[in-house]
Amino acid sequence: MLGEFEYLILSAAARLHDDAYGAAIRHEIEEATRRHCSIGALYTTLDRLETKGLIKTWMGDPTPQRGGRPKRMVRVTATGIRAASDFYLVVRRVSRGVSWEANRIAVR
């Protein structure tokens, strides 16, 4: 079973597809969560996902806007897609019959 942050990375990488790399994934996660995503958390989680065989990473070409430094490119593997899909199904299943929006209004 994936962790929450692992799922965020897999989703961001899948959405970015061929443009998935460290800074872009981080930007996607920060946009989605509206919270700061630390480089430490991102890179150690990328390592963990790669060890589990859920993603594949490699060093890309250097670009001028990065000061001529290469990107760490990311691709979600078939196993990664299955794991993210399973996680999403679990979240949907467990959320059935729960309206968080209604609960939030009730709390207010």
Partner: protein, 291 residues
């Protein structure tokens, strides 16, 4: 850091410089990717520094989840470092006594041995110390990897200071009016050339160990043979002092047994056994791959 936009005031420049320096603790590929990400995202210097520090901390914690740095810390720093400190201390005392007696009075400092025997022992101990420290340094570098900044510092301080600490704790030396700064300098700076040379030997070994990790089997056989011969020689020669003192005191003073004299030399020699084990495994794997 090249590629960042205007860095602004002094503090910002210092922070970026720190990011540059600290990021060297990361692997080459990761360093490039992280610095590129920071340049692209345009984070402020403080945030970039915090992020890099966070990543380094996580990487260091990850390193200590493996057994190798622990073996370096317990096996090399503690097990070999303590006897090495005692041997180095004894060498420095014996050498300085002889040197001062010769410089001031032009005579040999009386140790109940002939000057030739004293010289032979000191020479043998000097060569042995160089080889032991190089081997310990190599194994430390090989086992520690990116944790070398910690294990290396611990080894340095252990070899330099553990004997002094033991003397201070046992009351053999009393520290009077010792200022903190003076204590710090004495504990961190090698105060004589001999110690500096020996520590440089350890540093060379550590540097090579970090890059090569293992030595070819033939080189390890040569190193193991040299260490065995030097260990036997130093044990045998240190017995000269015991015998001379026993004779001088007409048997009233009993010297250390052969086993007790051998033990510290064996403890400082154990890293070569690790080199033998890893070199053998490396050769076997190579042969398996070839077949």
């Amino acid at each position: 850091m090249g590629g960042e936009p205007n860095r602004g005031p002094m503090m910002t420049r210092i922070f970026w410089r720190l990011v540059d320096i600290l990021s060297r603790m990361l692997d080459a590929d990761e360093r490039q990717a992280v610095r590129g990400d920071l340049a692209e995202s345009g984070d402020c210097a403080g945030m970039a520094l915090r992020d890099v520090l966070g990543l380094i901390a996580r990487r260091q914690i990850g390193i200590w989840k493996q057994w190798q740095p622990w073996l370096a810390l317990l096996g090399v720093v503690c097990l070999a470092g303590v006897p090495l400190s005692r041997i180095l201390f004894r060498f420095n005392v014996d050498l300085s006594q002889q040197w001062m007696a010769y410089q001031q009075y032009g005579v040999h400092f009386g140790t109940l041995l002939t000057p030739q025997r004293d010289m032979a022992f000191l020479l043998c101990l000097a060569v042995a110390l160089l080889v032991w420290l190089w081997t310990c340094g190599f194994v430390l570098g090989s086992l520690s990897g990116r944790a070398i900044w910690f294990t290396g510092s611990a080894f340095y301080l252990m070899v330099l200071d553990s004997t002094w600490v033991r003397f201070a704790l046992s009351g053999n030396i009393i520290l009077r009016n010792a200022g903190l700064l003076r204590l710090f300098v004495a504990a961190t700076v090698p105060l004589n050339i001999a110690t500096l040379l020996f520590l440089l030997s350890g540093l060379c070994g550590a540097s090579l160990g970090m890059h090569r990790r293992v030595l070819p089997l033939r080189a390890v056989y040569v190193l193991a043979s040299v260490i065995t011969i030097l260990t036997i020689l130093t044990t045998w020669m240190s017995g000269w002092y015991e015998t001379a003192h026993e004779t001088w005191s007409a048997g009233a003073w009993r010297g250390a047994s052969l086993l007790m004299r051998l033990l510290p030399f064996v403890l400082v020699s154990w890293p070569v056994a690790y080199l033998l084990a890893t070199a053998k495994r490396w050769t076997t794997t190579d042969k398996e791959t070839a077949t």
